[in-house]
C-alpha cells in the first residue's frame, strides 16, 4: 500500500516533487511574512517604550496602537 502511494506506477517522482515544491513554497512564504510581522511589531513596541508618558497616553488613544501592543501572538 505504502509502496503504491510512493511509487504511483512510475509517476511518483513527478507527483511527489510537485506536491513537495508546493508545500515548501507555502512554508517559505509563511515564515518570511511572519518574520516581517514580528520584526515590525518589535520595532513598534521598542519605539513605544521610548515615548514619554504624555505621548504614550496620546498614542494609546488610537485603538489600533493598543491592539498592536496587546497582540503578542506571532501571527
Amino acid at each position: 500500500m505504502i509502496n503504491e502511494i510512493l511509487y504511483m506506477n512510475g509517476y511518483g517522482l513527478y507527483v511527489w516533487s510537485a506536491f513537495i515544491f508546493t508545500l515548501v513554497s507555502f512554508a517559505s512564504l509563511y515564515f518570511v511574512v511572519q518574520a516581517h510581522y514580528v520584526k515590525e511589531r518589535n520595532k513598534f513596541i521598542a519605539k513605544f517604550g521610548t515615548l514619554n508618558s504624555e505621548r504614550a497616553a496620546f498614542a494609546k488613544l488610537q485603538g489600533i496602537n493598543k491592539e498592536i501592543l496587546s497582540n503578542t501572538s506571532n501571527i
Binding site: 510537485a18 510581522y37 489600533i64
Partner: protein, 235 residues
C-alpha cells in the same frame, strides 16, 4: 461605505483572524492532500500523473483571481481615493505571485510525463509566465517608489496592463493550437471532469484560498504596523 473598511476599525479583526484561518487551513489541507494523493482515482490516460492537477489547477486559478482583484481594487482605490484599497492590493500580491510560480513549476513537472518536455513556448504557459513578470513588477514597484501618489499610479498602470493578459491566459487554449488541454471545468456549460476528481480539486482550491487569506491577513497587519511605526516617529 468605505469608512467601515478603515484600517483603525478592522485591525482588531485582522489581528485575531490569522490563528483561526491557519487552523482551518491545516484541517482543509489535510483532507485535500489525503483525497488528492490517496483516495482519488487514476486517470484512464494519464494514470497517477493526473494527481499533479490538484496543486497545479488551484494555484493557477488563485493567482489569476488575485491579480484580477488587485486590478479591481487599484482602479477603485484610484477613482475613490481610498488608500486602504492600495494597501489591501499590496498585501495580496505576495501570495498571488507564489501561486503563479507554483502553477508554472508544477505545470512544468506535469509536462514531462504527459508531453515529454519540461517546457514549451506554448500560448498558455507563456502567458502565465508573463503574468508572473507583471506580479514581479508590481511587487518591485512597491519596493522602489517611496512616494505614495507615485507608487499608487505606477502600480495602477502595471495592473491595468497586466489585466489585459488575464483573458489571454483564459482563452489561449481556445484561440491557438496549444499543447495545453482546454478547460475541463466550466461554470456555464457542462463540466467534463468526474465528481471523484472534482471533489478533491475543490477541497484543494479551498485550502489554497485559505492559505492566500492567511498570508494576506499577516501581510496586511504588517503593513498597518509599519504605518503606525511612522506615526510614532511623528509624535
Amino acid at each position: 461605505m468605505f469608512k467601515y473598511l478603515e484600517p483603525n476599525k478592522i485591525f482588531s479583526i485582522t489581528s485575531k483572524a490569522p490563528k483561526y484561518v491557519l487552523s482551518l487551513f491545516i484541517i482543509v489541507l489535510s483532507i485535500g492532500l489525503s483525497e488528492a494523493l490517496i483516495f482519488s482515482p487514476q486517470d484512464y490516460k494519464q494514470g497517477d500523473a493526473v494527481r499533479i492537477m490538484y496543486v497545479h489547477v488551484p494555484a493557477a486559478w488563485i493567482s489569476l483571481g488575485i491579480f484580477s482583484l488587485i486590478t479591481f481594487l487599484s482602479i477603485f482605490g484610484y477613482i475613490f481615493k481610498v488608500q486602504n484599497f492600495f494597501l489591501i492590493s499590496k498585501s495580496l500580491a505576495p501570495s498571488g505571485f507564489v501561486f503563479n510560480i507554483i502553477a508554472l513549476v508544477t505545470g512544468s513537472i506535469w509536462g514531462k510525463p504527459t508531453w515529454g518536455t519540461w517546457w514549451a513556448w506554448d500560448a498558455r504557459i507563456t502567458s502565465m509566465l508573463i503574468l508572473a513578470l507583471f506580479y514581479a513588477m508590481y511587487i518591485l514597484a512597491w519596493r522602489i517608489f517611496e512616494d505614495k501618489d507615485k507608487v499608487n499610479k505606477v502600480t495602477l498602470i502595471i495592473t491595468i496592463l497586466g489585466i489585459i493578459n488575464v483573458p489571454i491566459i483564459k482563452y489561449s487554449v481556445d484561440w491557438w493550437n496549444t499543447l495545453h488541454q482546454p478547460a475541463s471545468i466550466n461554470i456555464l456549460t457542462k463540466t467534463s471532469i468526474d465528481i471523484s476528481m472534482l471533489f478533491p480539486l475543490m477541497i484543494m482550491t479551498a485550502a489554497f484560498a485559505l492559505f492566500s487569506l492567511l498570508i494576506f491577513l499577516m501581510k496586511y497587519n504588517t503593513e498597518l504596523i509599519k504605518i503606525k511605526n511612522k506615526g510614532l516617529d511623528r509624535l
